[in-house]
Symmetry: C2
Subunit: 204 residues, 2 copies
DNA sequence: ATGTGCTTGAGTTCACATTCACAAGCAAAG
DNA sequence: CTTTGCTTGTGAATGTGAACTCAAGCACAT
């Protein structure tokens, strides 16, 4: 299957599709049509069919798509089939909130390590994970952790990102309000809650 | 000035521009060229010039754009000139982390009210704000609060959103992992951290 | 077995966004 | 005053994604 020709905008929508599909699956819904599905994900139905058609046609005319098949397909494309271990850097208020959020397993993620610079926190436990000293970030690669969530103050974000890159990480979810300079092989996604808020008044 | 013809993709980039410009301003940088600016925001220089040209030409050839003028312009377009009051619903771990985050004022936002359903929290103080009972959400309109940040469990997100809509809110930043059904006049932005994480493995 | 109603899948059209290339123009130096 | 170097602003071309439309086809009822 040639996934390489899937448009990037379609990829961007897939996690949203996945979430809705898992929701439908939990409700024991077996089939869903593009029309009904569009209600759940706020994407128009022709768009949904086009997206699904990129990775092969397996819908049933007159009926719709089988929910479990769709989930399998999307998990496969996003490489979420086996559990991905993720590291959390920064155990402040935000980091703690994130580590306790149970939505990660929906996407096959598991927070497998937490780091914090504060001596008060090192050695203590958040959930079931023991907080470690940041110099141990270098061991992430051998622990098979390739994704990191960065919840540190903006001042130390770049510095920490450099360490992560050095440790062989290839994906960073950056929650600091700043851009990170990283090599091209590393994918960075930045979420700045305040910044997202910035477009709201425009649409009023 | 005809702002109405500014492409939506440009609008989406403006908050990012604004953040970088404020950073430059704090560094006392007076002028910035599109080439230099592109390093800061990770957008190519012709794109930046095109974006700026949508809201009028005021760069100086051979020199660049005046940082403070740019900040004024963008604040004007995004309607961030006067301080916008925002309400925070949900004072759990995530809500608390958000209320203590000081990045909001960069965009002219101020958390002016906090609501939580828990009796333990009502009446206590987070930062300088006293946590209120959710039935007081109805008073938001008369308090001149038009934007809300929703940090409640997914189960009660829709119900709370309905209350907010009833209170005359016209923008919601939704941090729950679910879609919200709201009237068209209300703009919703959903951020699901786990979902954003979902695209990372694909790019590995 | 046949017809009916609904849904898929794809080809096409249209709209939008990005990139490119270059003329026009300011500033500073000689 | 003229020249040199750099940067803007924009029209044209290219690329990309969204919306539309409709023939093909499955399932179920009759």
């Amino acid at each position: 299957m040639r996934y390489s020709k899937i448009p990037s905008e379609t990829i961007r929508r897939l996690p949203g599709y996945l979430r809705a599909l898992i929701f439908l699956d939990e409700k024991s819904r077996e089939y869903v049509s593009s029309k009904v599905f569009s209600e759940y994900v706020h994407v128009k139905s022709p768009q949904i069919r086009k997206d699904f058609s990129y990775f092969g046609a397996f819908g049933t005319k007159g009926v719709g798509y089988k929910v479990t098949t769709l989930i399998e397909q999307i998990r496969g494309i996003l490489k979420l089939k086996e559990v991905q271990k993720a590291a959390l850097i920064g155990a402040g208020k935000l980091g703690t909130a994130i580590s306790l959020y149970d939505g990660f397993k929906t996407y096959g993620f598991e927070i497998a390590a937490i780091f914090d610079i504060s001596n008060d926190k090192i050695g203590t436990r958040i959930g079931e994970i023991v907080v470690e000293d940041p110099w141990k970030i270098a061991t992430l690669c051998e622990r098979n952790i390739r994704v990191a969530i960065l919840a540190v103050p903006a001042e130390s974000a770049q510095e920490t990102a450099d360490k992560l890159v050095g440790a062989g990480i290839n994906g960073i979810l950056n929650l600091s309000p700043c851009y990170l300079a990283v090599p091209k092989r590393v994918k960075v996604i930045t979420i700045d809650i305040a910044m997202e808020l910035g477009v709201l008044p425009y649409y009023s």
